[in-house]
């Protein structure tokens, strides 16, 4: 069993209303100088050996389902 992490973030040029709201809330709470962008983190447990082929499957899954590539970018990496 191996664990692969898929990080999905809104593309930088795309409006991130969530991040904006969080940034505003932090400021009101007195945390200054923090700018936040909010995305998603998926922990994917892969059954069996983590072959290159398996990893490619996770990448495909990310592209197809986990991220909406029109507005989001994703990054796939194996957890150390």
């Amino acid at each position: 069993m191996a664990r692969v992490i898929v990080d999905v973030m809104p593309k930088p040029e795309i409006l991130d209303p969530q991040g904006k709201a969080v940034t505003g809330a932090l400021k009101r709470l007195g945390f200054d100088g923090l700018t936040v962008r909010q995305g998603k983190r998926f922990e994917v447990d892969v059954e069996g050996d983590l072959t290159d082929e398996r990893l490619d499957q996770v990448r495909e899954a990310a592209e197809k389902l986990l991220a909406n590539t029109v507005i989001e970018a994703f990054d796939v990496r194996v957890e150390q």
Binding site: P17, Q18, K20, A21, V22, A25, R28, L29, Q38
Partner: protein, 226 residues
Amino acid sequence: MSRIGVVTFPGSLDDHDAQRAVKLAGHEAVALWHAHESLQGVDAVILPGGFSYGDYLRCGAIARFSPIMTEVIQAAEQGLPVLGICNGFQVLCESHLLPGALIRNDVRTFVCRDQKLRVESIDTVWTGAFEPGQEITIVLKNGEGGFVADPDTLARLEGENQVVFRYLDDNPNGSLNDIAGVTNARGNVVGLMPHPEHNMEELTSPSLDGRTFFASLERFLAAVPS
């Protein structure tokens, strides 16, 4: 006639409906603005439904830190009746006035329907006028109504009669133990996902079961020496 405060956060939607419900129940509705620091001496507070701060981050997470909530938390701890409806329930959980949390519906869509519930506890300020075990219908409409808590908390809630409402027929959102609403140990703070303020008028409601929430409150307020 009592004075019942209804809080408006940025993004609150059912605040006017809650005010209308208060008036239909024969009470004075007091509008409370999130940025103010006074409860204006109200006899009870309703945290209404909606999408405070767009429901960004987590539902209720940002509203919980508004100035009025500091007052609400303090007053609730001293016994002030507080009812959290939908987003209001989420704010109460984020404020730790109620246990557990609400997460995205397991069906992963918004759900709007006339929902059957069973009243599991009448030992609260807001449910005293119901019959034990009464089955009622209340409008349900939310995207993040799945109630979760760790196993110990869940066991405690069940054991100490803090589960107030349970979904009947069909669990709409994956809530653990079909929980639709809970109370604090003292019974003055109640939160539920369904919307009793939308069950006050024949013309616009699937039932009139919302009125009993106010009848319960009246009974409680009449009993406490003011």
